[in-house]
Every structure is written in structure tokens, then in C-alpha cells.
């Protein structure tokens, strides 16, 4: 599969997300003469219902999306990884409790739990990250546990135990390096689903609050003016789809490349 396409899409938007504070953008500037005006040569993507430039809001929305996705995935991988690896390695009652907790978490449809959590915690970018993180770590934890269970009896681990290596050393030096590949594959799908989930929460009004731009809230606000200004819904949606598609393609490519067996990855959406 060609890799340059997804990489350039993600790279471009990530770059814009990073650079957005220093770019000459005016995402909150209201221009009353331009309310709902259609895309034209000077302003490629037109203006929204308050007369704010859609292009500038898209770029500053990228910052929200990537910020949330980055922290949700980091939180999920580190928390899930640590818990899953320790549970599998220590076994005994720790593992029993861990499996129970994971089972209960998996008994919820993921998105539903995220919506309920975000609704209860209240809006705000920190709460969105928290809600998606609480839902997201389970997949990584289960994956890490399964991998370690399979590796625990491997010769090099038994050998390390025989020469008296402490558990933390075995985990860090002999187990973690071998389970990073599947975790990276899972994480790249995790980026896609975190971006969609953040936009979904913002669409429901449970995500970041105005005037901060988010692709999801742009779509929500745009639906009210769909007949007169379809560009308000079309452009944020296209952007969102392109970035998510790129992340999914990247995940597919990594999975084929790293020869990770097909997992039942748990998608939030």
C-alpha cells in the first residue's frame, strides 16, 4: 500500500496543529459583513454563521483534535500497558481482579460510556481527555496482557529468571520490547478513533466549549444553516474524514508490515 498519502495528510495537519498559534490566524474574529458567505477566491472556505473564517477555524480545530488524540492515546497506552503487563506477569489474585475489571469495562459499549462520563464530568478539553482515556486504556491493557501471557514461558524469559533477574528488569528488558509492535498498531487505530470520538463529543455539546474551535462543534453549528450554507458542514467533515482515513490506512499498513495477527481491536466508534 502506498504510504506517502496517509503520511502526508497526517503530517500536514499535525504541522498545522503545532504551528497554529504562530500562524496569522483569526479563528475568533467576527466579520458581520460576511455572515454565512460562500467560499470565494479570497476566502477559500467561506465564513460561518457569526462571520468567522472557516479555514482559520479548521486549522485551530486541528489543534484541538490532535491535542486530545495525543493525550488519550498516551494515557491509554501507558496506563493499559503497565496494568496489562504487570497483571500478566504477576498473575495470582492481581490478575484475577484485573480480568474482572476489564470484563466489566468491556461490558459497556465504549462510546456510550464515554458520552455518559463526559456528560457527568461536564464539558472541557481536560474532561474529554479523561473520559476517553478511562474508556480507552482497556483495549491496550487486554492486548498487553495477552502478549505477555504468550511470552512468559519463552526461553529467554525463563533464562533471565533463572539467573535471578528482578521482575522489573525482565519486564523492561525482555518483555516490553517484544510487545511494542502490536501496541503501536493498536495506537495508530486509537488515534483515528480518539479523533472521531472527540469530534463526536463536541458534536453533542459535551466536548470543548465555544469559542474554541473543534471539527465536531463546527459540524453541529453548521447543520442549522445547511440549506443556505452547506460549506459549514462539508468542509469540517471532509477534513475529519481525511485525517481519520489516513490514520486507519497507516494502522493497516503497520499491521501488515509488522505482521501482527488480526486483533479484535476495540473501536470507540
Amino acid at each position: 500500500m502506498r504510504l506517502w498519502l496517509p503520511l502526508s495528510i497526517i503530517g500536514l495537519w499535525a504541522l498545522m496543529a503545532i504551528l497554529s498559534p504562530i500562524l496569522p490566524l483569526t479563528p475568533d474574529a467576527i466579520d458581520l459583513t460576511n455572515i454565512l458567505s460562500r467560499p470565494n477566491l479570497e476566502h477559500w472556505l467561506g465564513f460561518d454563521e457569526l462571520g468567522r473564517p472557516v479555514a482559520d477555524r479548521l486549522i485551530s480545530g486541528a489543534r484541538t483534535s490532535f491535542f486530545v488524540a495525543l493525550f488519550v492515546v498516551l494515557l491509554g497506552v501507558s496506563l493499559g500497558g503497565i496494568l496489562g503487563v504487570s497483571s500478566a506477569y504477576l498473575s495470582g489474585w492481581v490478575d484475577v481482579v484485573f480480568v474482572r475489571v476489564v470484563d466489566i469495562m468491556l461490558a459497556f459499549p465504549g462510546l456510550l460510556l464515554a458520552i455518559a462520563l463526559a456528560g457527568a464530568l461536564g464539558p472541557g478539553i481536560g474532561n474529554v481527555i479523561l473520559a476517553l482515556g478511562i474508556v480507552g486504556w482497556v483495549g491496550y491493557a487486554r492486548l498487553a496482557r495477552g502478549q505477555v501471557l504468550a511470552l512468559k514461558q519463552a526461553d529467554h524469559v525463563v533464562a533471565a529468571q533463572a539467573i535471578g533477574a528482578p521482575p522489573w528488569r525482565i519486564i523492561l528488558r525482555h518483555l516490553l520490547p517484544l510487545i511494542t509492535a502490536p501496541l503501536i498498531v493498536e495506537a495508530s487505530f486509537g488515534v483515528a478513533s480518539a479523533i472521531i470520538a472527540e469530534a463526536g463529543l463536541s458534536f453533542l455539546g459535551l466536548g470543548v466549549q465555544p469559542p474554541t474551535a473543534s471539527w465536531g462543534s463546527m459540524i453541529r453549528d453548521g447543520t442549522r444553516y445547511m440549506l443556505v450554507a452547506p460549506h459549514l458542514v462539508v468542509f469540517p467533515g471532509l477534513t475529519l474524514m481525511a485525517v481519520v482515513l489516513a490514520a486507519n490506512m497507516l494502522g493497516d499498513w503497520l499491521r501488515d508490515r509488522m505482521d501482527v495477527k488480526n486483533q479484535n481491536s476495540r473501536r470507540v466508534f
Partner: protein
């Protein structure tokens, strides 16, 4: 059973440990402290947490979900009002998904590495990446506003289910088509497929009689898991189309800070999910006698 109990406790804790005082929301910030105390007492919110939990648990055993803080109606009635709409939407979406995904996944597997395969998988990848809160508005724009074939929202007339079911169905079809393809591909590599070919069975018969039935088993399990995603995704789709189901009830309750209703809606959807997965497991064992449940 332990799963059900765990889900119930988690939902209870989720709602009760979160900051935010429903009494304050109901009375407004300028309310007199004595009024607040009276209401708090009337709602049982001044009891210690474990007593509140016990009351809640006892109520659930009698299928009593409490009353809505907003409308004052019994939550059980609210749920019964909303469940049929969600069930109807989910089933139609499932039908849409299977109708699209089965031929697509099967053809892609049989014609692996041809333009047909790439086309089908490309479609699936795009379908997977379209969020339903974008797909929904686009379908409304084209199907309802421009063409005028379907109602914009709500549940009026037989054709109002078309747009929301398409929204939910395509997202699911995309994921399902990928699973069907990989499942069929695995079967196509089996020895008995070579035998079928060797004894002169036509390709169509071999695929329809041998490959498809055998690959349906893993697909079935995934379908059960997918239904959970469907139920979660239904929350957003129902909001987009103002479809009067459980998902919309939950969102309305979140906006009104009607915590008992949120709690009941989450519980109701999660329990459905657990029951569906349990049924899938049982069906799986019934269809494939090689699978036995260990009783230890």
C-alpha cells in the same frame, strides 16, 4: 451475572461520585438553603452513599428505576416508551449492514488482489472513517432538503427510518465487509476447499456451500460485538435525526442534568449489549458443536 452487577455498580458510582449537585440545578443558585435541604431529603440524597446504593439496588430488583428529576415521571415508563424506536432502528440498520457487507466481503475475498477487491476494501476503509454525525447531516441535505424524498427528522411515516438506518448501517457495513473478507479468505485456504475443487465442484457452489457457512461462525461473534458499537453509535445518530429512542433520551437527560434518567439509560443500553453478546455466544455453541463451555 457478575458482569451485570459490576456494570450496575459502575454506573451508580459514575453518577454519584461526579461533582455537580442535582438539587442546585433543580432549584437554581439563588435557592434558600432550607429549601435545598428539604428537597435533598425528599430525594434521599442526604443519606450516606452505601444507603443510597442499597435503595437503588432494591428498586432495580423490582424493576423500579426511580423517577425523573425533570418531568417527575417514572423512569421505567420513559424507557418503555423509547425502547421500541431504538430496537427498530438497530434492526433495520443491521439489515442494511448485512445486505451491503455480505456480497461485498464475499466478492472481495473470492477475487482477492483484483480491482474489485481493492475497490470494495477502499469503500470499506472510507465507510469506516466517515463519522455518523457527518454522514447523517449529508444524507439529510441530499435526501430530505434537496430531493425531498424523506422527512428531515423525527419518526413520522414509514420512510423516516431510511436516512438514520443508512447512516448507522453503512458505518457498520464497512467494518463488517472487512471481517467477512478476512474470514472467507481464511476458509478458502482450507484443505476441504481444495477437495471441493478437485472433485469438480463449480467455484460458485464451492464458495456458497462450503466457504460461506464455515466463515459465518466467526462473523457471527463479531456481529454481536458490533451491535454494541451500533447501540453506542445510535446515541449520536438519534440525536442527528431527533429519533425518539433511548440514545436521544440519554442526551436530553444529560443536558437537563437528570441524573437518574442518564443512569437508567446507560444501564439499559449496557444490559442489552451484555444480553446480546451472551445470546451470540450461546448461538455460536449451538451452531458449532465443537465448542463447549467449561464449567470450572
Amino acid at each position: 451475572m457478575i458482569g451485570l452487577l459490576g456494570v450496575m455498580c459502575l454506573v451508580f458510582l459514575l453518577i454519584h461520585l461526579i461533582p455537580g449537585d442535582p438539587v442546585e440545578v433543580m432549584l437554581g443558585e439563588s435557592a434558600q438553603p432550607t429549601d435545598k435541604e428539604t428537597l435533598r431529603h425528599a430525594l434521599g440524597l442526604d443519606l450516606p452513599l452505601y444507603q443510597q446504593w442499597w435503595i437503588y439496588f432494591k428498586g432495580l430488583l423490582h424493576l423500579d428505576f426511580g423517577t425523573s428529576l425533570f418531568s417527575g415521571r417514572a423512569i421505567g415508563d420513559l424507557l418503555i416508551e423509547r425502547i421500541p424506536a431504538t430496537l427498530y432502528l438497530s434492526l433495520v440498520s443491521l439489515l442494511v449492514a448485512i445486505t451491503v457487507a455480505l456480497p461485498l466481503g464475499l466478492l472481495a475475498a473470492v477475487r482477492q488482489h483484483t480491482p474489485l477487491d481493492y475497490g470494495a476494501m477502499g469503500f470499506a476503509l472510507v465507510g469506516m472513517s466517515i463519522p455518523n454525525f457527518w454522514m447523517g447531516p449529508l444524507l439529510i441535505l441530499v435526501g430530505a432538503l434537496w430531493l425531498g424524498w424523506f422527512p428531515v427528522s423525527g419518526q413520522e411515516g414509514w420512510n423516516s427510518v431510511v436516512l438514520p438506518a443508512l447512516t448507522l448501517g453503512t458505518a457498520m457495513a464497512a467494518i463488517l465487509a472487512r471481517m467477512i473478507r478476512s474470514s472467507v479468505l481464511e476458509i478458502l485456504g482450507e484443505d476441504y476447499m481444495r477437495t471441493a475443487q478437485a472433485k469438480g465442484l463449480s467455484a460458485t457452489r464451492a464458495v456458497m456451500l462450503h466457504a460461506l457457512p464455515n466463515s459465518l461462525l466467526p462473523i457471527l461473534t463479531l456481529l454481536g460485538l458490533q451491535l454494541g458499537g451500533l447501540l453506542g453509535g445510535a446515541v449520536i445518530t438519534e440525536t442527528v435525526f431527533a429519533w425518539p429512542g433511548l440514545g436521544l433520551l440519554m442526551i436530553e437527560a444529560i443536558q437537563q442534568r437528570d441524573y437518574p434518567v442518564v443512569q437508567a439509560a446507560v444501564l439499559c443500553i449496557s444490559v442489552t449489549y451484555i444480553v446480546v453478546n451472551l445470546l451470540t455466544d450461546l448461538l455460536y455453541a449451538w451452531l458449532d458443536p465443537r465448542i463447549q463451555f467449561k464449567t470450572d
